[in-house]
Structure formats: structure tokens, C-alpha cells
Amino acid sequence: MLENKYFYINSSEATDNGHSFSIRLDANHPVYNGHFPGNPVSPGVCSIEMIKECVERLVKSDSILVSINQCRFINVLTPDKGDNLFIKVSSSLEDSIVKVSSTIVDANDIVYVTFKGEFQLK
Amino acid sequence: MEKQELIDQVNEVLAEEFEVEVSEITPDANIKATLQLDSLSLVDMVALIESTFSVKIQNSELSSIQTFANLYDFISARMSK
């Protein structure tokens, strides 16, 4: 839903505990007209959706976010900080549920989002 | 409720919620540092204490609760009312 509109995936690579996606935000996305007028802030829910779309790329399947244990928005993300972000994902598959632990950080290791939740594969 | 009984109960609920050893909770230790509270988890601590001991912690009173000893005194004072 958001990939190639709200954000772009530059590349992804396996890491010792999962995968890391290099991404960038599109500062011209229309959501910034309303969030907020004259004060663009990346909506937290769009960060959750970006994590989901990275997970779907990994498991090569559509999915539904069925539960969030905890998701914290540690620092306010704005599109001007959106050039060089990383979405780190570690996941485990049990039946048709993907349990995911993820963070969104920048190149200086500033943490914007931490996420623990579950996706139901379609 | 006996003061020691109150102290044990406070330590137990905090240790479980914030995943620290009860032994780490000593009366003079700083609450935020020991439980590694940030602005978000501070709300969890306040809500937990309020619901467990049915007391109300006003924002203005929060600044006077720095150590666990302050917390024990605050709760026992409110509970005896």
C-alpha cells in the first residue's frame, strides 16, 4: 500500500539476527499535506505499515497485522530525516503467524520506532 | 496493612512489571534509574501503583517521589486516610 508511494526500499541484506532494509521516505507524499499542515511529520501508523511491507517481502506473502504486543515511537520521524533509514526485522514463523521484532533507525543509530507484533499470513 | 508487607508488595509488582530483580529495589535507590523508566513507562508505573493500592498520585506529587522509600511513605500515607 505504501511501498513506492510513501517510501522506497533501496536494498535489503541478511544480518546475524534477521534482515535490514535500507529505505527512504518520499517527502512529497500527500499525507504530509494533512499530517500536519505546514509541519510535516511521518505518521506512526505509516511506520507500522512500512514494517509490515518489509516483512511481507521477506515471507513473500500478503498478511494482516493481527496483534501488537508493544510498539513505541521513541523519536518523532520527519520526512527530512527520511533519506537514510533502516528497518531491521527479525521474525519467526509458527503455522501461519509471523512473530516480528523490528526497529526503525537511522545511520547514526537514532531509534525512531521499536515494534513487537504478529502478522497473520493470507 | 503492615509497612513491611506493603514494601514487599510494592517491590513485587514493580519487579514483575519492569522485569528487574527484587533485590535491585532498595529503599534509597532512585526509582526511574532502577526501573529504567522513560516518560512512557513512568505512566505505566503510576497507573500500576494507583490500581494496585487504589491511591491517586497527582502530577504535582510525582516530583516528590524519587526513591522507593518516598514511594512507600506516599502509599502508606494515602492508604491510611
Binding site: 505509516c46 493481527v66 496483534s67 | 516518560s39 494507583e50 502530577n59 510525582l62
Partner: protein
């Protein structure tokens, strides 16, 4: 239950800073100091609708905005008229999707119950329904 005030249409903008395409509340009703009910009729052109299906981020944003509207409403009640407070989601906890995601045309009704307010952070629980069925429940912290 004394319904204090109902906000609809343009009035909603008195309670929220979000604007199109991400304004996700179209009715607001304060039930009492701790509880409010906010609503959203999902239009097919909603930014979080895909092929007529409303997606998870839209649901979570609707819940967050319902609470943000309530925080502003409470501030107006206690401190008098003012611009909407800028609310950010600080944390989402125990979010559970409990029935299939609603489709375009559905009417969401979300009950917000304030649990604790510490400094600039409001913790609340939320339950969203479509008709009688519960769509999702969660707990959130909003920082203003």
C-alpha cells in the same frame, strides 16, 4: 449518561490538527470526563482503503485521533477555548484485531477510556466496533 457535546463535520477540526487525506474521525461525543465515543464512516477514497478494504494503519490512526480529539476536548473544558493540541502516538500496546477488517462504507465507532494522565502523556484503552461486532481493542499512550 449526560452527553455533553457532539462534534460533527467541520466542528471536528476544532479538536484535531490532522487534515485530508489523514483526518480519520468525523464524529465525536464526550460521554463523561473519562469516556468518549468517536466515529468514522469509511469512504472508498480513504487513503488507507485498498480495493474497498480498510487497512490496519487506518484503524490505528482512527483510534489515536479519537483519543487526541478527547485530550483537546478535555483541555477546552478545563482551560477554555484553544487550538487543537498536537498529539503524537507514543506507544501502542495490546492491539488485537478481533474480526475481519471493515470495508468501505462501514461505520466505525470507537470508545476511548482514559486510564491515566502523567505530565503530557495520556494513557487510554480503546475498543472499536462496527455495529455490534468488536473490530479491535488496544491500549495507547498519546503525548501532546
Amino acid at each position: 449518561m449526560d452527553i455533553i457535546k457532539v462534534y460533527k463535520g467541520e466542528d471536528i477540526k476544532k479538536l484535531l490538527n490532522q487534515r485530508s487525506p489523514i483526518l480519520m474521525v468525523d464524529t465525536f461525543e464526550a460521554v463523561n470526563d473519562e469516556v468518549c465515543i468517536a466515529g468514522l464512516t469509511i469512504n472508498a477514497d480513504n487513503m488507507f482503503c485498498v480495493n474497498g478494504g480498510f487497512k490496519e494503519p487506518g484503524l490505528i490512526e482512527h483510534i489515536a485521533q479519537s483519543a487526541s480529539a478527547f485530550v483537546t476536548y478535555r483541555a477546552i473544558q478545563t482551560q477554555g477555548d484553544q487550538n487543537p493540541l498536537l498529539g503524537f502516538i507514543g506507544e501502542v500496546k495490546k492491539f488485537k484485531l478481533q474480526s475481519p477488517l471493515p470495508c468501505a462504507g462501514s461505520e466505525l465507532s470507537t470508545t476511548i477510556t482514559i486510564q491515566s494522565v502523567v505530565m503530557n502523556i495520556t494513557m487510554f484503552s480503546a475498543e472499536t466496533r462496527v455495529g455490534d461486532s468488536v473490530v479491535a481493542t488496544c491500549q495507547m499512550k498519546l503525548s501532546v
